[in-house]
Symmetry: C2
Subunit: 438 residues, 2 copies
Amino acid sequence: MLYDSQGLIMREIGVGLLGLGVVGSEVANILLQRSGRLSEQVGASVSVKRILVRDPNKQRPFPFPATLLTTDVSEILGDPSIDIVVELIGGEQPALDYMKKAITNCKHVVTANKEVIAKMGFKMLSLAAQHGVDLRYEASVCSGIPILSPLQQDLAANEINAIRAIVNGTTNYILTKMAREGLPYEQALRQAQELGYAETDPTNDVEGIDATYKLAILASLAFHTPVRPSSIYRQGISGLDPKDFTYAHELGYSVKLLAIAKRQGDALEARVHPTLTSLETQLATVDGVYNAVQIEGDLVGTLMFYGRGAGGGPTSSTVVADVLTIARSIAMEGIIRPRIELNRRIPVIPMADIQTRYYFRLSVADQPGVLAQIARVLGDHRISISSVIQKELDPDAQTAQVVILTHPSVEQSVQSAVAELAALPLINHVGALIRVEH
Amino acid sequence: MLYDSQGLIMREIGVGLLGLGVVGSEVANILLQRSGRLSEQVGASVSVKRILVRDPNKQRPFPFPATLLTTDVSEILGDPSIDIVVELIGGEQPALDYMKKAITNCKHVVTANKEVIAKMGFKMLSLAAQHGVDLRYEASVCSGIPILSPLQQDLAANEINAIRAIVNGTTNYILTKMAREGLPYEQALRQAQELGYAETDPTNDVEGIDATYKLAILASLAFHTPVRPSSIYRQGISGLDPKDFTYAHELGYSVKLLAIAKRQGDALEARVHPTLTSLETQLATVDGVYNAVQIEGDLVGTLMFYGRGAGGGPTSSTVVADVLTIARSIAMEGIIRPRIELNRRIPVIPMADIQTRYYFRLSVADQPGVLAQIARVLGDHRISISSVIQKELDPDAQTAQVVILTHPSVEQSVQSAVAELAALPLINHVGALIRVEH
């Protein structure tokens, strides 16, 4: 029994944890170790009741009482003393079923599961609203960085115009290595794997899949419309060449995997791809495993939120905060309901129709007239050139590198022009095509 | 009468505004223009009832119905249909009295008033708690940047170790001009005044007074202890010389007016002064009128929040968000009380006792043995040198500039050493003494 500063018995709020991996262990440890201070903050005693594990005998970084551990999920989902279920299993199943069951059993849910929230968030929030419980998922996007709550609460008066974000630490680490040390992609990836920043199968990160989940969540909340991950254009970083980092830098840009969502009239752009990012912006200087989310609101102007987007410490910081927010609401006896403000229906523009600036690099024969040919093809497709760099690369082979930066152009025109250029006899190949963001 | 999406009558929440200047006009305009969408978000109709002005006949950027305006504050503080009072007069009085009166009349209060909150926040919050109303003041620190709410809510599980922040746009604009264009302080200040970034009497900004208010609020919330503005060491930017920006840059630093609060054992450092800030940090690259707050939490690691810290748009964005948060709580019929978690008592370390690294510049006679003399004085005071730059400045006068960067040293030792150095015959004068932050 816990007492508050006035000596009154504090209400006990029960927490059940699903999963005791890196994040789960930290969350459990914080709730147990800091329970006095946290309970005082909340005005109720927040108490870990039970933790779902696969193997109760596994060695763990923190020693938890064996009585807390269970392999039977119904001992959590069916326990009436548990008010809040924290899902930290990850992946789509069985996490989704467990969360649904928790909600229909009228338990509040906290999760860091970006995949479930990105794909099923709207349905889950509606289900939570029906059952009068809250569903919080701040850690699902850029774990340690408070971003969903500021977006929904502190920026509520704004119309959001654009989001540009570095939401994947693995790829940002690899890109930073390529930029600083001129490493080829494969080598930078290997270093990231050795340091534990990339998984053995890195597909989810390096192909931008993880980033589409996070952008789907961010864009849905920012524009008050459900944005499905499958509607987001996606291109990963595995095709990048360190040469382009050097040329980009000469032109005043760094190369980042950006997640971009922008309002364009009555529609949205939503895309994840390597992007030349102007060195004038704060975003371009975000290096290593750090994440950052830049938001443009019509009242507030440009904001940026920067921090660690993964790891046990940052993620548990946010998960525990979500638990405390719900616990505080329970203690204050208000009507609790999740924020669902997805009351608009805004279509995503097909990638072929978007307009942006482009960088491309051509490996060409070092002969007169090449640039004229390139310029003619671009002109035919109504693509206007902003800068050109020509570099003699291999004097023996008589090839040169031509780097072109365009003014805003339509994606499908650029794709057709590039295909046409690739077919020209004097052009050996198109080495890179990267979109540009101011 | 407003109806929600189910066709039910929505509760009306009345708002009274005190002040109709730049921010007040924007706030009133947003609440009036966006009332449909905002009311839907809140689940109640949010309605501007009355606005206190000095002169009802003044021309204003937005046309407000004359019936909304009043010169009699009691028409707001005494109106039972007004639930939330928004104070945007600024300064200590009469703002403080009006807010107290609003609270004792059981009205919730939203304010952007950093001076009142920094000096009287704890008392005001207690008063609000007694009367069962909320007091929100997110816009009082770095107006447009959501920082107080993330600090109190999203970082609640952390022990905060340090805050380093650029909280004053005027001085950051002046410092950016001095760094980029080598302008002397007076000229950079004049440009800031011409652009409306600095006031005719710039004392409050350039001497760091404004920054101490903001740091007092940030540090109080971060460390759960009341930190009074008067307990914060303060040095402004008016003594800076553009030369030091050049030398600092050579050493890998930019010069920023930082507000710093750090935990040191059982005590706190709290200080505002020009600071050499490592170019490796995101904070060092924050330029122009932008603000940024860097927070170090034990779980979350380093976070940074970046955006505009002043102006009608950013401030009204935050003030309206605070109004909506309270309105949402009213609509959800919970117990509303302000967050007061100032339950620790941590003393601020006297400035003489702090330890940090120092940069100083000496103008010396260009003669043999000078450096040896300097090194001896520093050694006597147990100050160890990290880097030295010596520059011949004026060959005719035979003077040179010696720039020294120290390892961590105690403030009072450094001050004594500098006094002793200034008295040496071969040293013409001490041109600068600036603290360093990694």
